[in-house]
């Protein structure tokens, strides 16, 4: 029993759970909308209800498939999920780096939070400096040069040439 539990693809199931909960919330809200309008036409809830219900069923079917494939492989003594990944149409991922991915997402969150307060230019410099220090460790000179030059170039392209109106933030006056 313990072995079977340990062999569960936890992150995959968590992702499916996230999708399922989102789909349930979506469907509950859809059922709060009209199925048909007063004039007998399709109401605002028509499409969302169908989409919501079918999505829930689809996610449940995927979850059942993941669990049954897993239990079959654990009952046959195999803990390797290569067969299941092939069955589900996924790359066997070999060596992976979840921590760097997580750190990159963290840097993106910081980038998002400071984008308007600091301005596009400074926020980009900060983001590049942070992420490059993680993924390009030890190459300080290159990291500093890229962190300063690239945001400058992009700011010139989007704000000056294309007049995109990027947030000026605290440092630069609005262009």
């Amino acid at each position: 029993m313990t072995a079977r539990w340990e062999s569960l693809p936890v992150t995959r199931l968590l992702f499916l759970l996230f999708l399922l909960l989102s789909a349930i919330a979506y469907t509950v809200m859809a059922f709060g909308m009209e199925w048909r309008s007063g004039s007998g036409q399709i109401g605002p809830g028509f499409f969302p209800r169908i989409v919501g219900v079918v999505t829930i069923l689809g996610i449940l079917a995927i979850a059942v498939r993941v669990l049954t494939t897993r239990s079959e492989s654990s009952s046959s003594g195999s803990t390797v999920d290569a067969d299941e990944e092939a069955e589900l149409g996924i790359e066997g991922d070999g060596r992976t780096d979840a921590w760097v991915t997580l750190l990159a997402v963290g840097c993106m969150v910081v980038f998002y939070v400071v984008f308007e307060p600091l301005g596009a230019l400074l926020a980009s410099v900060l983001f590049l400096a942070l992420l490059l220090s993680v993924v390009n460790r030890g190459h300080h000179r290159v990291n500093v040069a890229v962190s300063l030059l690239v945001p400058g170039g992009m700011f010139l392209l989007f704000d000056v040439l294309l007049d995109a109106g990027l947030p000026p933030g605290l440092v630069l006056p609005p262009m």
Binding site: Q41, L88, I90, F111, A120, F127, L132, F158, L166, P167
Partner: protein, 539 residues
């Protein structure tokens, strides 16, 4: 004759100095994005779409067509030089392109690939000119019920053809549909899933979603797969070196393959969901199947390079047929183009060629000119772009994320859209991680409003009765087609296993006859099969 006149008119219409500059800039930018690992035409188009917002629609589409081809060719450069396909459509290019580079023939490989792309673009432009007006004239008789069914059929084709797991593809499309329902309901004016946010009243904009899923999602995926720790085995290429140009034998050997690849690519690309990946792999199999020396494939055979290259470009041209005539994007890249059309106030569909002929033929003309520009620039700039491929991903990846953030902010000046883009980036990463189809999501997001609107119109016409779908002969025919697609969904794997088994058996027999050892064939077949995930990525 008239259609060729319209094509020539379209080409002449976009032949202004400004447009030529935009073509050159588009090809260059597309190639820059295309040589970055993981970023293909759809990512290139999504990331660079905001750059075109300051232009008029014709100039913008000229530039995007150039970006499309440039990005496609960028993938070829990395496939040949570093054995890393920029995106799945160029996977087949690695089979013989990289062995050629290893033999010191990177120059001929890149030149032949560019010429194959050009030939396919030319044949594609001619075939579009012949087929698009015919399809459009049939499609112009379609009413809302037929258009609704065409949208459903388009999505079903996408799910049935693409990927090994149709359930994951279907759920991906449903998530896209769900996202498409956010915003104000046009008929009743009721807000759906806006949570009081004024930014969401007009719905979730397609551009940040596409940028997030194709741009940020791919970067996160590459980081997860330790792309930042990989150093590439780079093959040098120089225009000045003696062996840069293909030999007479190379040209002779590649003529037939280019023609076959172009035609196969066009027709496969014209099927929604067919896409450049399927076309290039089919072309590779075809070339190997008809070759007198199949044992050379995988070791630097010229037909194994030019056939798939022509096919993936032919498919790009073919995918324009359903886009222009039905408003159905056949691939993720054309979905991004469709998003661009809608932003510029143009609605692709049967009436586009009638009501906006200058634009429609201008687009076809600019696609052709994009190929010409690609050929010209490629010959002079290959070494420069090849050097971009040498910049490690650990530096390019973070730069692309900054470009994605600034690009998505530039669309509407909205920080909420930047947030949506980043969330979609993370979603795109998990979708790739667990085998879902990001492309199906994006295509459904584009098609969702169209499906809902046409269904509403259908119900208005019929007074709320679904019988209308079986009362009209065209609708009935489309329903029959959908039923066949559903059947294929169930029976497809069985048919494909049987056909593949027979083909492998025949191949083994041929190889045995020509004295090839079995294990060589097996090794070769293994190389031929791309990662299923890669196949799914292109759609």
């Amino acid at each position: 004759m008239d259609v060729f006149g319209q094509l020539l008119g379209g080409i002449a219409g976009v032949l202004t100095p400004t447009n030529l500059l935009l073509l050159a800039a588009g090809v260059l930018m597309g190639m820059v994005v295309g040589v970055m690992p993981g970023l293909g035409p759809s990512a290139g188009l999504a990331i660079l779409l905001p750059v075109t917002f300051g232009l008029d629609p014709t100039s913008a589409i000229v530039m995007l067509a150039a970006v499309y081809y440039g990005a496609m060719y960028g993938g070829t450069i990395t496939s040949v030089l570093i054995n890393t396909p920029g995106e799945s459509a160029t996977v087949a290019t690695t089979f013989d392109g990289y062995p050629m580079a290893k033999q010191g023939r990177a120059g001929p490989a890149l030149v032949l690939a560019a010429v194959a792309s050009f030939v396919a673009g030319t044949i594609g432009a001619i075939l579009i000119s012949l087929t698009a007006p015919a399809v459009a004239s049939v499609a112009s008789t379609f009413g809302p019920p037929e258009i609704f069914l065409v949208v459903v059929a388009g999505l079903l084709t996408l799910i049935v053809i693409v990927g090994r797991n149709r359930l994951l593809g279907a759920v991906s499309a449903l998530v896209g549909f769900a996202m498409a329902t956010v915003g104000i309901d046009i008929t009743t004016g009721e807000q759906r899933y806006t949570f009081g946010s004024p930014e969401l009243i007009e719905g979730i904009d397609f551009v940040p979603v596409a940028i997030g899923i194709f741009g940020v999602g791919e970067i996160l995926w590459s980081l997860y797969n330790r792309g930042h720790k990989q150093d590439v085995a780079y093959r040098k290429v120089s225009v000045r070196s003696r062996g840069f140009w293909p030999t007479r034998g190379d040209w002779k050997e590649s003529r037939g393959s280019m023609g076959r690849g172009s035609v196969v690519g066009f027709f496969v690309g014209a099927i929604p969901g067919g896409g450049a990946t399927v076309a290039s792999l089919m072309s590779y199999s075809l070339e190997k199947g008809i070759s007198r020396q199949p044992q050379r494939f995988g070791k630097g055979a010229v037909p194994g390079l030019v056939g798939p290259e022509a096919a993936n470009n032919g498919a790009s041209a073919g995918s324009m047929v359903p886009l222009l005539t039905l408003g159905i994007p056949g691939s993720s890249a054309t979905a991004v183009l469709l998003g661009g059309f809608l932003i510029w106030g143009l609605t692709p569909g049967p009436l586009l060629m009638e009501q906006e002929p200058d634009f429609a033929w201008g687009l076809i003309g600019s696609m052709y000119l994009g190929n010409v520009m690609l050929l010209v620039l490629n010959i002079f700039c290959v070494p420069a772009f090849a050097s971009i491929a040498r910049v490690p991903f650990r530096i390019l990846g973070p730069i692309v994320i900054v470009l994605c953030v600034i690009g998505s902010y530039a669309v509407n000046g909205s920080i909420v859209e930047v947030g949506i883009m980043l969330v979609c980036g993370v979603l795109g990463f998990f979708m790739r991680r667990y085998g879902f189809s990001p492309a199906a999501l994006v295509i459904a997001l584009v098609l969702g409003p169209m499906a809902e609107e046409t269904l509403r119109q259908t119900m208005l016409i019929s007074g709320g009765s679904f019988d209308i779908f079986v009362e009209r002969s065209t609708s009935l025919a489309l329903l029959g087609f959908i039923a066949v697609l559903c059947l294929l969904g169930f029976a497809g794997p069985l048919i494909s296993r049987t056909v593949r088994g027979r083909l492998e058996q025949r191949q083994r027999q041929r190889m045995a006859e020509s004295g090839i050892v079995d294990d060589q064939a097996a090794e070769h077949d293994a190389a031929e099969e791309p990662a299923p995930d890669q196949r799914q990525a292109d759609v």
